[in-house]
């Protein structure tokens, strides 16, 4: 059997999803699917720093909101194409990542996590008091007319987010299999030993924070058009911070596929729960799964499969 390079799979899957989006007429699936894909981006992005290097970022919402509010500013200025907003949102978020990294990455463990949480709170306070983007009242974002070649603007947003998800997954995968990923894994195992083995630990951590933050910013950029009314509470929602940690943890943090599995699983469960049970129950389900996985399978679903594979392999060869 010839081996298909693994980077092909995300593209194939995305192609199938794209084809399905053309067939499915019910727009609700686009709405729900958008959220799932958005979490694929956030979880994959979070995992580049948190999973590979072990630095837990509680401030995903901050990076996401930078992208979202970047779009609001652009929307007020000159309404550029969405792609431009995504690009700029990504750049600004990764620059914020750069500054955050330099200010906080000398803090290890829990202190770094607290610093990122503080970043989200500080930024939210700033936005609350920034009248230009609506302050606490929020901002109504009028969707542009539908885009040529797409049945509706929601469909367009869905496809854009699908493309972002593919980009995020391929970036995460490329980093994982490169020497940067090896260096980040060494940092996760033991930072001092890594530094003494020649790993430029600070530089790699800054790089990972920038890529991670940039992708989160890109995920946030289309959000104002998706939700059409953006206020600080929805942009800085607690759910982003929690989900982008929980999803890689449930899926498995050492492989790029882990956050994808976790994001699809948790986001679908949340979407289903929202319509069938209650929209308030979402985070409780996430909390329950999180506790379950931390105690039973700390290496996530991918870890469970690897364990099973090793056991089976172990039995086969005496």
């Amino acid at each position: 059997m010839t081996r298909v390079p693994s980077w092909v799979w995300p593209i194939v899957v995305a192609g199938l999803v794209l084809a399905a989006s053309r067939v499915v007429k019910n727009e609700y699936y686009m709405f729900a699917g958008y959220v799932v894909l958005q979490y694929v981006v956030l979880a994959s992005a979070w995992n580049i720093l948190g999973g590979y290097s072990g630095y837990v970022n509680f401030g995903s919402a901050a990076f996401f909101a930078i992208g979202a509010y970047g779009t609001v500013v652009l929307d007020k200025l000159w309404q550029p194409p969405l792609v431009v907003a995504i690009f700029l949102g990504g750049i600004v978020a990764s620059l914020v990542g750069l500054v955050t990294a330099y200010l906080t990455l000398r803090l290890r463990g829990v202190f770094f996590a607290i610093a990122t949480l503080a970043l989200a709170i500080v930024l939210q306070t700033l936005v609350m008091n920034w009248d230009y983007v609506g302050g606490p009242l929020g901002y109504y974002c009028v969707r542009p007319d539908s885009i040529v070649g797409f049945p509706s603007y929601v469909n367009y947003l869905f496809v854009v987010m699908l493309a972002l998800a593919v980009i995020a997954v391929l970036v995460a995968r490329a980093i994982e299999s490169s020497f940067i990923g090896r260096g980040l894994a060494a940092i996760r195992d033991n930072e001092l030993a890594a530094e003494c083995c020649g790993v430029p630990t600070l530089r790699l951590k800054v790089f990972a924070t920038m890529v991670s933050g940039g992708l989160m910013g890109m995920a946030g950029a289309p959000f104002p058009y998706y939700i059409t009314y953006l206020d600080p509470n929805s942009a800085f929602s607690f759910a982003y911070g929690i989900n982008s940690i929980a999803m890689p943890l449930v899926g498995g943090m050492t492989r790029w596929i882990g956050p994808v599995i976790g994001a699809v699983l948790l986001a679908v469960i949340q979407q289903v729960a929202t319509v069938t049970i209650s929209s308030e129950l979402n985070l409780m389900i996430v909390g329950g799964l999180l506790i379950g996985f931390i105690t039973v399978a700390p290496n996530g679903i991918v870890g469970l499969f690897e364990q099973y594979g090793q056991q089976r392999h172990g039995r086969a060869s005496p």
Binding site: A186, D189, N190, L192, A193, C196, C197, P200
Partner: protein, 246 residues
């Protein structure tokens, strides 16, 4: 002995932690290929000195020159790339990686930055050769978290070798090992030294220090009180007093 240009020249190194002076104007000179023992009672500043030389911490005052270059402000990974490589008192393996995986980190991140180190082989082949040398070849694909104590020490050494050191600082590589295992580690270090690597050995096991070092440096309370051949140092009145009391 012919006097060569020193490989490492640390001059009046001072390091304070709050009000505590851990190192007080310590001078250390190492020539290429030399074997130096560094001894001293607990808390005398041996580890602080190692940390200052390797870059894990920065000395407050004083200069460190390595290979003719000022390095006292360089980060640790940069010093490793130049050829100052250390091992740790407590082995710190990359626990999520296999034994051979541990070695590919310094091969990729340190050795590759010095030309002429790879001998045309890829990192994996080089790692296997190094494991062969230290006797861990059959453990190459085992998880580094499941090694025995002596295997951990060997891995720690192998990982340092993989960074292609010019100066290896071995921080208590033998603590807690049996006599036979100590001999094994000493012979590994001697083999490495034969290949031209200068070695600073920090050790409490006097037998090892006497057998290994050509020169012994004694630190007491952050000061260097002796720096001479091992038998001269052992008969030094001040050293005897520091170790055995009045």
């Amino acid at each position: 002995m012919i006097l060569q240009a020193p490989l490492l020249e640390a001059t009046s190194i001072r390091k304070r932690f709050g009000g505590f002076v851990a190192l007080d104007a310590v001078d250390v000179t190492i020539r290429p290929g030399e074997r130096v023992g560094l001894i001293g009672p607990n808390g005398s500043g041996k580890s602080t000195l190692v940390n200052c030389l390797s870059g894990a911490i920065t000395n407050d005052t004083g200069t460190i020159r390595f290979d003719g270059r000022a390095i006292e402000r360089l980060p640790a990974h940069h010093r490793t790339r130049l050829g100052i490589v250390r091992t740790f008192q407590m082995p710190l393996p990359f626990a999520s990686m296999s034994v051979v995986g541990n070695l590919t980190i310094p091969l990729r991140f340190a050795a590759r930055y010095r030309p002429g180190c790879s001998e045309g082989k890829n990192d994996f082949e080089q790692a296997l050769l190094i494991l062969e040398d230290v006797g861990l070849r059959d453990k190459a694909h085992a998880s580094s978290a499941g090694l025995t104590q002596v295997e951990m020490r060997k891995l720690e050494l192998a990982r340092a070798v993989a960074a292609r050191p010019k100066l290896l600082i071995a921080d208590e590589t033998m603590a807690g090992l049996s006599n036979a295992e100590v001999d094994e580690i000493i012979s590994l270090l001697l083999k490495l030294n034969n290949q031209g690597v200068a070695i600073i050995m920090i050790e409490h096991i006097m037998r090892a220090v006497m057998a290994f070092s050509q020169r012994t440096i004694v630190l007491v309370a952050g000061k260097k009180i002796a720096d001479d051949s091992p038998d001269v140092v052992m008969n030094d009145a001040e050293v005897v007093r520091a170790y055995l009391g009045e």
